[in-house]
Amino acid sequence: MNSTVALLLCGPAALLTTAILGAAAGRHTAATRLVYGAAFVISAAVLAIVAGHLASNPGEAPAIALPLGLPWTGARFRLDSLSAFFLVVVNLGGAVTSLYALGYGRHESAPHRVLPFYPAFLAGMNLVVLADDAFSFLLSWEFMSLASWALVMAHHRDEANRRAGTIYLVMASFGTMALLLAFGLLAGPAGTYAFDAMRAAHPGPLAAGAVLGLMLLGAGSKAGLVPLHAWLPLAHPAAPSHVSALMSGIMTKVAIYGFIRVVFDLLGEPAWWSGIAVLLIGGATAVLGILHALMENDLKRLLAYSTIENIGVIFASLGLALAFKANAMPSAAALALTAALFHVLNHSFFKSLLFFGAGAVLTSTGERDMEKLGGLIHRLPVTSFVFLIGCISISALPPFNGFASEWLVFQAILRSPELPQWGLKVIVPAVGGLLALSAALAAACFVKAFGITFLGRARSAAVERAHEVDRWSLAAMAVLAAFCLLAGILPGLVIDGLSSVTLSLIGDRMPVQVAELWLSIVPIAESRSSYNGLLVFGFIAISASLAAFFIHRFASHALRRGIAWGCGFADAVPAAQYTAVSFAQPIRRVFGSFAFRARETVEMPAPGSLDPARLRVDMHDVAWEIFYQPIAGAIDFATERLNHLQFLTIRRYLTLVFLYLVILLLVLALWP
C-alpha cells in the first residue's frame, strides 16, 4: 500500500545516483549511452509502477513520511490520482526523451555538462509531483529549476545562452518566492507545512485571493503566462533539443500541476470571481504567445512561443473549471478540468515531438534559422512526416489529439450561459473567441513552420548535405506521433482515465465514454454535442483512398515532371521563394500594430538613383518593455545612487554612525 510510494521514490533516487555517475564519467564516451539508457529504464519502471497502482487499487492515496527535510514536518510524499496522472505525463515524457537522447546525445559537444543534470532534472520533476508538504514541494521545485538552469548553461560559451540562463534562474526564484509566500499564508503562523493540514485549514476570502494571485505569479512564471513569459523563449531553445523538449513539454506541465494542486486541492472552495482572472490571463496568453510564435524565424524559439499559447489554453480552461466549481456546477467543472488535463497530456506529446524534430533538423543541418532551411522533406523523409503529424496535432485539426482537447474546451465554454454571474456570462464567450483566434493562428503558425522548413527548395548549402538522423531519434518521434493519433481517435479512453482526478478535485466526473457507440465522446448528451475521432478518421481514410482508387482506376496515370511556373521566366533562385518573414507579413499587418507596436518604414531611393528601396520592420516585445525594463532601470538607478556609499571618507562613515546613534537616542527620548 504505502510501499507503492516508497517504490516510486526509488525512481528519483535511482535517477540521482545516475546523475552522480554522469558527473563521475561525464567525459567518457560510454557515459552517454549509460546515463540515457538508465534514465529510460527508470522512467519506464516508474510508469509501470504507477500503472500497476492505478490498475490494482485506484482511488486510494498511499502516503509516506520520511525523516528528512523540514524536521518537525518530515518529507511527506503522496500518490493521489492527480499526482498519478502527472507522474504519467512526466515519466512518459522522460522515457521518450531518454530514448531520443540515446541517439541525439551522441552529437553533444559538452556531454559532461549535460549528463549529470539531465537525470537530476527528471528526478526533480518526479519529486515535485509526489511531494505532500510545502517544504519538499518547494525544494524539489527549485531543484528542478536549478537542474534545468545547469542544462541551459550547458553551452555557456555562447553569450546569448548565458543571458538566457541568468534571466531564467532569476525568474524561477521570483516564482519560488511567490510560491513560498503562498505556502506561508496557507501554513499560517504556526507553520503547519503538511498539505493535509493546509487542506484542513480554510483561509479567509482575502487570504484565498492572495494565494490565488501568488500562485498565478509563482506557477505562472514557471509555466510562461504573459507577462511572466519573457524568460521562456530565451531559455527553452538555449538548452540541447531533448532538454528543450523536456522543459517545454513536461516542466511547464509540472508548473500547472503546482497550480492545480494548490488552487483546486489545498485552497478549498474558490470564490466566484477567482475564475475571471485566470480566464482572462489564459486567453491573453494564448493569443499573444501564438502571435509571437508567428513572428519568429528561429524554429526552436517558435516552438517555445507556441508552448506559451498552449499554456494559455490550459489556464483558460482551468479558469473555466474554477468558475463552474465556484458556482456549484460540478459536471461542467469536471468537463473543463478534464479538457485542461487532456490538453496537458496532448501538449506534452506533440511539443516534445516537435522539439525532437527541431533537434533532428539541427543535427542534420546545423541550422535553427528557418530562413536558411527549406526542402528538407526530400532529405529527411521520416522526420518530416512525423513533424507534419506534430504540426497537425498542435494546430488542433481533426482527427488528431490537439483537436479532441480543444473541442472539449469549447464544449465547456458552451456551458457558460448557465453561470449566474453576468461578468462570467460575458467574459467566457469572449475568451472562447480568443481561444478560437489562437487556434486559427496556431494553424497559420505551423503551416509556416512546416512549410518554410521542410517544403520548398533548399535555402542554404547545409540543407543539401543533410541526411536522415539515427534510429533512436526516429523511434522516439514515431512513438510520439503514434500517441498523437491514438489520443486523437480514442479520446474516450483518456477521458475516462481522467475521471478519478476530477472526482477527487471536484467531486464529479464526465459521463463514461467507453460505453458510447463507436467510441465517440459525448461530454453532456448526444443530442447536444458529440465527436467521434475514430469515425472521422475512418471516413477520411476511406473516402481519400476511394477517390484515389477511382482516379487511378478510371482516370489517366500519365505524369510528367517539369519546371515550376515562373511567369515565363527561367527557374528562379531558391532565394526568390517566399520567406518566413514574408509569410508572416499579412498577419503582422493585421495584428502587429497592437501586439508588437510593429512599424514598417519604406526607404525609397532618390529618383534616378539605382540603390534598392528598403523596407524596415521594427517590432517590440511589449511585455518586456512595460514590465522588465523599468524594473531593471530602477535597480540600476538605485545601485548608481547607493554606490557612492562605498567611496566615502572615514569621517563621513563616522558621521553616519554618529547620526544613527543620535537618531536612536532621540527616538528613545521621545518614546511615550
Binding site: 525523516p67 528528512l68 527535510g69 523540514l70 524536521p71 518537525w72 510545502a134 517544504f135 518547494l138 525544494l139 524539489s140 527549485e142 531543484f143 536549478l146 548553461m153 555557456h156 560559451r157 553569450e159 548565458r162 540562463g165 541568468t166 534562474l169 532569476v170 526564484s173 521570483f174 518566492m177 513560498l180 509566500l181 505556502f183 506561508g184 499564508l185 501554513a187 499560517g188 503562523p189 507553520g191 507545512y193 535597480i635 540600476d636 538605485a638 545601485t639 548608481e640 547607493l642 554606490n643 556609499l645 562605498q646 566615502l648 572615514i650 562613515y653 563616522l654 553616519l656 554612525v657 544613527y660 546613534l661 536612536l664 537616542l665 528613545l668 518614546w671
Partner: protein, 483 residues
C-alpha cells in the same frame, strides 16, 4: 577559573593562548602553520568534548549553556578548517613574496590569539569579560587586515580600527549602563555583571536605563556585526586582508558580535517595560539586507562582493531574531550556522581563485568551470547555497523566515523578499561571469587541497536535506530560550 574540575572550557581557552605564546616565540616559521593547525584541531576536540563531559555550573566568569555551545563548536570547527586552508594559502603567499617569514610568525600567533578571544567571548558569563574578549578578537583582526602593508590594506585596517574602536566605546558604555541598571537590584560588585544572575533579575531592572543601554550595545556590537549603516569597515577589511582572515571575519567574528547582541536581547526581553528589541533589530536587519543587495551590483572586487553578501545575510539573521518566535529563531540560528559554513567555504574558493588568476578583479576572471573545474564548481555550489537555493541548508532557513514572516506580518515579508531577489540577481549575474564563458586569466593548476571547501559544502548540503534529531531538539530549545 572559578570552580570547575577539569576542563573542556579551560582547554578551549588555554590551548589557543598557549599556542599563541609558542607561535610567537617559534623559531622555524615553516612549522608554524602546522602548529597552528594542530592547536586549532585540539581546540575543536576540546569543544566537542563539551557534549560528553557534564556541563559545569555557571561561575562568576565562565558559563556553558545551550546558547553558546552552538557557537563554540561552530567557532572551533571553522577555526580548524580555516587553519588548514590558511596553511596552503600562506605557503603560496610566501612563494610569491607577498608575506615574509616574520610576518608569518606574527600572523599565526595573532590567529591563535583571535581564536582565544572569540572562544573567551563565547564562554564568558560576565558581560565585562565578554566585552574584553570581543575587543581582543577585533583588535587582532585589525592587525591581520593590515598585514600586507599596501595602501589599500592600511587604509582598510585604519578604517576598521577607527570604526571598531568607536564601536568598542559605545559597547562599553552600554555595558556600564547595564551594570548601573542591575546594581540597585543585584547589589554592588561583580555579581551585577554576571549574566546568569542578571537574566534572573532582569524583570526588576530600571527599564529606561536598560533601553539606553541596549541602544548603545546594539550600535557597539552591531558595528562588528556589520549592520548598515555601521558596516563601512567590513567590505574593505574583507577585501584587503589575507583570505583566511576574510573567511574568519565573515564566518566567525560576525557571529561573536551577533552572539553578544543576542545575550543582551534576552536581557531586554526579560524586562517588560523596556523598549522591545524586536522592532529595532527588524529595522536594522531589513536595512542591511536591502542596502547590501543593491551594493552587490556594482562590485568589481570578488572578495568585496562576498563581503557585501555577508552584510546581507547578517541582515537576514538579525531580522529573523528580531521577528522572534520559535520558527524565526530556529531559522535565525540555522541560517547563522549555514552562513558561517558556506561563506567561509566561498572564501576558501575565492582565495585559491585569486591566487591562480593573480587578480581579485571580477572582470578579469572568466570561465572558471572550464579552466579550474574543481574551484569553479565549488564556487557555483557555494553561490547557489548562499543565494538560498535548494537543496542546500540556507534554503531551509530562508523558507522558514519568509513563510513565517508572511503569515504573521505580511508587510514585513514584502521588503524581505524583494531584498532577497535583488541580491540573488546580483550574485547570479556575477557568478555567470565568473564561472562560465570563455576562460580568461591564469590557467596554472591549483596546488591546494579542496578538503576544507568541499567538507563545508558537504555539511551545508547534508543540512539542507536532513537535520539530525538531536541538533533540531537543541536548536528548538535555544530558539525557545531566545523567546
Amino acid at each position: 577559573m572559578s570552580g570547575f574540575s577539569f576542563d573542556a572550557v579551560a582547554a578551549i581557552l588555554f590551548i589557543p593562548a598557549g599556542a599563541a605564546a609558542i607561535l610567537a616565540a617559534f623559531p622555524n616559521y615553516r612549522m608554524t602553520a602546522i602548529v597552528n593547525m594542530i592547536a586549532s584541531l585540539l581546540t575543536l576536540l576540546a569543544a566537542l568534548s563539551l557534549f560528553v563531559t557534564d556541563r559545569p555550573a555557571p561561575g562568576q566568569y565562565l558559563i556553558v549553556d545551550d546558547l553558546n555551545i552552538v557557537f563554540i563548536v561552530l567557532n572551533t570547527f571553522v577555526g580548524f578548517t580555516t587553519s588548514v586552508f590558511s596553511a596552503s594559502y600562506i605557503a603560496h603567499e610566501l612563494e610569491t613574496g607577498r608575506l615574509t617569514a616574520p610576518n608569518l610568525r606574527f600572523y599565526h600567533a595573532m590567529y591563535q590569539i583571535m581564536m582565544f578571544g572569540m572562544n573567551l567571548a563565547f564562554v564568558s558569563n560576565n558581560i565585562g569579560l565578554m566585552w574584553v574578549a570581543v575587543e581582543l578578537a577585533t583588535l587582532t583582526t585589525v592587525l591581520m587586515v593590515g598585514i600586507y602593508r599596501t595602501h589599500e590594506a592600511l587604509e582598510a585596517a585604519w578604517k576598521y580600527f577607527i570604526l571598531g574602536s568607536v564601536g568598542i566605546a559605545l559597547a562599553l558604555f552600554g555595558t556600564i549602563l547595564v551594570y548601573m541598571a542591575a546594581q540597585p537590584v543585584v547589589g554592588e560588585g561583580t555579581n551585577a555583571m554576571v549574566w546568569s544572575v542578571l537574566i534572573e533579575k532582569a524583570a526588576h531592572f530600571d527599564p529606561a536605563l536598560l533601553s539606553v543601554a541596549f541602544i548603545f550595545l546594539l550600535l557597539g556590537y552591531g558595528t562588528k556585526v556589520g549592520l548598515a549603516p555601521l558596516h563601512a569597515w567590513l567590505p574593505d577589511a574583507h577585501a584587503e586582508g589575507p583570505t583566511p582572515i576574510s573567511a574568519v571575519l565573515s564566518g566567525l567574528l560576525l557571529n561573536v558580535a551577533l552572539y553578544a547582541v543576542l545575550r543582551f536581547k534576552l536581557l531586554l526581553a526579560a524586562s517588560p517595560q523596556a523598549i522591545g528589541p524586536g522592532p529595532l533589530m527588524v529595522t536594522m536587519g531589513l536595512t542591511s539586507l536591502i542596502f547590501a543587495a543593491f551594493m552587490l551590483y556594482r562590485r568589481r572586487d570578488i572578495k568585496r562582493l562576498f563581503a557585501y553578501s555577508s552584510i546581507e545575510h547578517m541582515g537576514i539573521i538579525v531580522f529573523a531574531f528580531g521577528m522572534g518566535g520559535p520558527l524565526a529563531n530556529f531559522a535565525g540560528l540555522l541560517h547563522m550556522v549555514m552562513h558561517s559554513l558556506t561563506k567561509s567555504a566561498i572564501f576558501f574558493a575565492v582565495g585559491h581563485i585569486a591566487q591562480v588568476k593573480g587578480t581579485q578583479r571580477i572582470s578579469e576572471i572568466r570561465g572558471l568551470t572550464e579552466s579550474h573545474p574543481g574551484l569553479g564548481w565549488a564556487l557555483v555550489i557555494g553561490v547557489v547555497a548562499i543565494a538560498g537555493l535548494p537543496p542546500l541548508g540556507i534554503f531551509m532557513s530562508e523558507f522558514l523566515v519568509v513563510s513565517s514572516t508572511f503569515a504573521r506580518h505580511p508587510w514585513l515579508a514584502i521588503p524581505l523578499v524583494l531584498g532577497l531577489l535583488i541580491a540573488f540577481g546580483a550574485l547570479l549575474l556575477r557568478l555567470t561571469g565568473l564561472a562560465f564563458g570563455e576562460p580568461r586569466g591564469g590557467m596554472a593548476p591549483v596546488e591546494a587541497s579542496y578538503v576544507p571547501m568541499y567538507s563545508h559544502l558537504a555539511l551545508v548540503f547534508a543540512a539542507g536535506i536532513y537535520l539530525p534529531g538531536p541538533l533540531v531538539a537543541w536548536f528548538q530549545h535555544v530558539a525557545g530560550i531566545l523567546g
